[in-house]
Structures are given as C-alpha cells and as structure tokens.
C-alpha cells in the first residue's frame, strides 16, 4: 500500500476542509509547490492534488500551479477536483499527470470515462466514489444524489474501471477513522482502491494495509503533525515475494498427501524441478518424507542430480539429524537445509549449523496445529505434540541462528482451503527473519492473503502446481496486479 499525501488547493493556497465544507477551510501554506517538494523529499511515492476551486466552480483555476508542480517534482501526481470535461482530463494526462480522478463526470457521462480508459489505459483513470451516508456526493460534495454507492460501483465495473478513489465525506478532515466496511466491499469487487477520508492514525493505516488496498491518502493528519510521512513510508525495496515449489520426495519420487496422509505419486523430482525452474519458481524445497536410513542414499543421489540441473536456490529437509548430514547435503549442492524434529530435540544443532555454514542456509521448519486455542508445535511429521508454542519456538529458533522459518499449518495442509493466516501473521510479526507460508494454498486469493494478511515473505506451493491447476506465471501475474512485488 502506498501512502499518498494530499495537497488541496483553494485560491492558490494549501488548505484542508472539514467534511468537505468550504467555510471550514484552514490555510496551511501559501505555496503548494513548496509543500509538494517537501513531501517528495520525505519519500512520498505519489501526490494527490485537488483543485478545490475547480471542484466548486468547474473551472480549472489552479491548473497552472498543478502543472508547475508536475514539472518540478519527479514522483507521479494524481489530480482531482472539477475535471468535468474530456478536454481537461486529456490536457492533464498529456502533460504528465499520472492519474486523473473523475467524480461528477463519471456519474453524468460514463461514456467519456470509457473513452479515456481506451485512450490512456485503466491505470491512469481513477473514478471517485464519494459518499455521504451510503449515497453519492457530487460537485465538491455540495450535493448528494440518490444513488447507492454499490450500485454505482457495479456500473463502473461493467465500464471497465479498475481504479477507485473512495472517500466518506463525513469522515474527511475529521481525523477519526476510515469507513473500513465500505472499503472492503470495493476491494472484494476487485477494484484497486485508494482510501481517503479519516486516515489519521497508524492503526487505521495498518488496518487499511491488511485490507489489501492500493493506497491511502493522508491530509490533515500530516498537516497537523499527528502523523509523520517519514515514519509511514515503507523502505524502498524491490525484493519480491517468493513463490516456492515444494516437492515431497519418497524413494526417489515426488509424492503428495492430504493432511500428511494418503500419498499419491506426483512425478520425477529432477524433471519436475527443471520444469518449475523454467516456469519461474523462485525457489524449490525437497522434503524427504520417509527419511529412513536406506532411503538416505537415494536422497543424496537425487540432490546431486538436481544441483547439476537446476540453477535456482533449493532447500532440502526431512529427517536431517546431525551436522554431518547437513555438511553432506550442502556439499552436494543444496543451498539450505531445513531442520524440524532434530531442531526441537536438539536446539543446539541450529546454532552449530549456523556457525559452520552460515545463518542463510539454516531453515527451521515448524509444523503447528491449534490445540485448546494455542498453536502448538508438533514433532515427527506431525504425529507427536510438543509443549512448544509456535511463536515462542520461532523466536527461539531465530535467536539460535535460523535464517528462515518454514511454517506449516497441519490442519490446512493439502486441503486447498487457504493458509492459516492467524498462525502466519503471529509468527511473521514476531521474528525478523523471512517466514515461508506452507499448508493450504488453494487459489490465487489464498496466496495473496498469505502475503498481505499473513505477512509472509514466501509462499510454499505443492499440489496446486503438481496437478497443474495453476501455473506459476499466473500466480506471479496475479500478485503483480495486486501490487505485490513478484518476479516474472
């Protein structure tokens, strides 16, 4: 979610209104340009500029100031307020304004919205849904019309609109809380939503972020010093969320079961690994689910073959008990090893492995299930309950040198009904090392939720890919469409 500072211009000055009433205007600066530059310098990734004079009169009174800001700063600018003609919208878009926000125009002349989308693309045409008590407000919020906002949203959907700017007029400038319910409804309809009105506290921002919206506009809270832009802007990074293909192996074959049982053959490991790598998997995990002694040589042989054929990182896990096995697997070409039962029974093994081979190659796998309202850690492929709780154990593992946590919800595993987001979020927020979500991916939405609500860094996917229900590229495209960084 991006944080978008608002600059509302009235009579050439930067002002804030309360609940859209012009008589409440409070002046914060005589220079919109100076304010824009300050926001840019503080790390804003986009600005939202409103021509309040135009909103009221329909005439682009502050157009020159806005275009001057556009020329003098580097970040994208979104402009709204009084864009009621095709001509004005085109002028802005052609002169480098990234996105125009259409309000009244979208209501009175939907065809024009459609033609703008055709000419400039979905991403640059934002339609404002501004509501006062569930009905639509127009003309600088001075009038309301008898149309329910959800009906309007449905019409916009049919028109091909993707970007929505949502404002609850009664919340705007009140520094209370955004209208989360209404925002959620629009997100659920598949819109890219920018929320505005009442975004004034870090808890509201957190909540909006978990709703999976595109951006949040902040106005008065910034001008009044209640929130600091510097604290809100996320660090700049293009690190992508990883999609990891998981291959459970047994006797040299890939298998897949439901809730750790009922195993089915899913193919040849080297073949599948090569295929996934070519399809764009970011990483691979091989779990030896039998891990018996006689089986071990088969695994070593398999890992060596994979390492010779696949040039993306891969992790090996399943029954690894001691430092010698770890050394052997890494030497054969594995990038990381994953410890599960052995780490619980002998936590010093984590430290030992991290010291010998580096933190980055030690993954601690945690199998957890809710027992009496607590997420308990299970041993031996999920067959034995331990006294450990998932969050505490994850923190302990981190302290001991784990470089990553592979977190499986046993109840959700193989059921394709979604990851356990509660478990995932609790663990992700408790540690400062990456967390891989595992167990339950059944749809694209599930994967998105693992990243947004679950705060995971990577998602492990097995059956969805083995049975070719979803292609890896489809997942990546979907994530990108939802503003989640992914490598295509």
């Amino acid at each position: 979610m991006i944080i978008i500072p608002a600059i509302d211009i009235l009579g050439g000055k930067v002002v804030r209104l309360t609940k859209g009433e012009f008589k409440t205007a409070k002046i914060y600066s005589a220079s919109p340009l100076a304010v824009a530059k300050k926001f840019e310098q503080e790390g804003a990734k986009m600005l939202h500029i409103v021509d309040l004079d135009a909103a009221r009169t329909g005439k682009p009174v502050n157009q020159d100031i806005i275009l001057r800001i556009r020329r003098e700063i580097k970040i994208p600018v979104q402009v709204g307020g009084g864009i009621r003609s095709l001509k004005l919208a085109r002028t802005y878009l052609k002169r480098g304004i990234e996105r125009v926000v259409l309000g009244t125009l979208a209501l009175s002349n939907p065809k024009l919205v459609k033609s703008l989308i055709d000419e400039f693309g979905k991403d640059r045409i934002v339609v404002a849904i501004e509501i006062k008590n569930d009905t639509i407000a127009i003309k600088g919020w001075q009038e309301v019309i008898e149309k329910k906002y959800l009906d309007f949203a449905k019409e916009l959907k049919e028109l091909g609109v993707l970007e929505i700017l949502f404002t609850d007029v009664n919340k705007d400038g009140t520094m209370s809380k955004p209208n989360f319910q209404a925002i959620q409804k629009l997100v659920d309809m598949g819109f890219n939503v920018v929320a505005s009105g009442g975004v004034a506290s870090s808890s509201s921002i957190k909540k909006l972020k978990s709703q999976g919206i595109y951006g949040a506009i902040i106005g008065k809270a910034l001008y009044e010093g209640r929130l600091s832009l510097k604290d809100l802007i996320e660090p700049r990074s293009n690190l992508t969320k990883r999609i990891i293909s998981c291959l459970d192996v047994m006797n040299g074959r890939v298998v897949k079961g439901v809730a750790f049982q009922k195993l089915k053959d899913a193919g040849d490991p080297v073949e599948l690994a090569t295929e996934y790598s070519e399809q764009g998997a970011d990483e691979l995990v091989f779990l030896d689910i039998m891990a018996s002694k006689e089986n071990r040589e088969t695994l070593f042989d398999l890992i060596s073959k994979v390492a010779r054929n696949v040039f993306i990182p891969f992790t090996v896990g399943g029954g690894i008990k001691n430092i010698e096995e770890i050394r052997k697997l890494l030497k054969l070409g594995a990038d990381k090893i994953s410890l599960n039962s052995a780490a619980i029974l002998n936590p010093r093994l984590i430290t030992q492995a991290a010291k010998a081979f580096g933190q980055q190659c030690v993954v601690v796998a945690i199998d957890a299930k809710k027992v009496k309202n607590k997420f308990k850690v299970f041993l031996k492929g999920g067959s034995e309950e331990t006294p450990l709780e998932a969050v505490a154990w994850a923190k302990e593992a981190e302290k001991r040198g784990a470089g990553e946590i592979l977190l499986t919800s046993m109840e959700n595993d193989g059921k394709k009904s979604g990851y356990n987001l509660e478990l995932l979020k609790n663990v992700s927020e408790a540690v400062n090392i990456p967390v891989i979500a595992s167990g339950g991916a059944g749809s694209l939405e599930d994967i998105k939720s693992a990243f947004i609500q679950g705060k995971a860094d990577a998602a492990l996917i097995a059956s969805l890919f083995h049975y070719k229900q979803i292609k890896i590229s489809e997942v990546k495209e979907y994530l990108l469409k939802n503003n989640i960084p992914a490598r295509l």
Partner: protein, 195 residues
C-alpha cells in the same frame, strides 16, 4: 581456457562448479595459490562470514596473491565484500582490491535480505552484456558494500541503494549469486567466461 574456483572453506563451490559444467567450461577447485598461474580466470565464491573467510585466505596465502592478479577475477556475494578495504562483519580487514567498506543493513526490513531483487544497470560492462536492465537476481546477505561510484555497474534497493555489480580493472564482482539466479545469472557467468 581454464577457470580456478578458489576453495577457502566457504560453501557453495559445488553450485558454481555445476553452473560452469553446464556452460561447458573447464574448471578446477584450487586450494593452493601457487597453482593459480596455470589458470586464466579466477572465481572467488562466497558464503559464510567475513572474519573466518579472511583468516583462511591469509593462512592459505590467497590473500597476498589475489590483489596482484592480472587475469579476470570474479567475486561472488561474500567474495565481493572481501574485495573491499574493511568489513563491519567480525571487524575484518579485507583485500583492498576495491576502495570501500562493508556495512550491515540497518533497516526495518528483514535481515538477511533473502530472495530475488532487481538490478538496475547504470554503466556498460562486458560482465553485464545482454542482461536486460531491471532483471532479477537471487540475493542472500546481511551486509552490503559502500564504494566509489566509478566502480558501480549495477545497483539495487533494499532500504539503502547499494552496488550489486562492480568492476575495477580485471576485478569483477556481484553481490547476488549468479549461479542461483536462473537464466540471467548463467548469462553473467558465461559473460565472465568470455572475457
């Protein structure tokens, strides 16, 4: 043509070796600096900590030989960091092949940085020939290099912007793991082999 992969006890030699094998290049894992004269390229791979890595390079004698080499040398990950003057990791004096020091990430983002990040190319180099600008590469590291602008070929954002492909004369290095970065990683390795 033969490539030496320096063995100084740090892991992932096998991955680099596997990649070179796939590219059809002949190579040898070398643990004695005296043998380097038989090679025309050197790779300094790297996984592990700066302190113990430098210790081993000193003991084996590579620390004296490496900075004087005139043949193309490629440092990977920790290998890149060891090219610097100094690393905050274990308070280590490094090889001083490239001016600069290595710092730990101080960020609210997760450390180590683990995964695929974008490399923005800012200068042409034979090492990065044919690589589309903005391609993704695989990173695993907690420290990054700070160096003079003139050595930077490619850079990456992880809260800070830091160099991820560097070159000074015959010394090349990448912060990411080309041997684990799929197609474009292989392209970098093959470019190095062609130098």
């Amino acid at each position: 043509m033969k490539i030496a992969i320096i063995n100084y006890g740090a892991g992932n030699l096998q991955s680099v070796a596997n990649a070179l094998r796939t590219l059809g290049r002949s190579f040898e894992i070398v643990d004695d600096p005296k043998k380097l004269s038989a090679f025309d390229k050197v790779i300094l791979p790297g996984v592990g900590a700066a302190g113990s890595a430098m210790e081993k390079l000193k003991q084996s004698g590579f620390a004296d030989v490496l900075p004087k080499l005139k043949i193309p040398v490629l440092g990977i990950c920790l290998g890149l960091q060891l090219f610097a003057d100094y690393s905050e990791e274990d308070d280590t004096k490094c090889l001083s092949i490239i001016t600069g020091k290595v710092k730990r990430f101080r960020t609210t983002l997760k450390v180590p940085q683990m995964g695929w990040n974008k490399v923005e190319l800012i200068k042409a180099s034979k090492l990065a020939a044919g690589i589309p600008n903005g391609s993704y590469f695989y990173f695993v590291h907690s420290y990054y290099l700070e160096t003079d602008f003139r050595y930077i070929i490619g850079k990456t954002d992880y809260d800070v912007t830091f160099p991820t492909i560097i070159q000074r004369k015959n010394f090349y290095a990448t912060q990411f793991h080309p041997e684990k970065s799929g197609k474009w990683g292989m392209k970098i390795l093959s470019n190095f082999c062609e130098l």
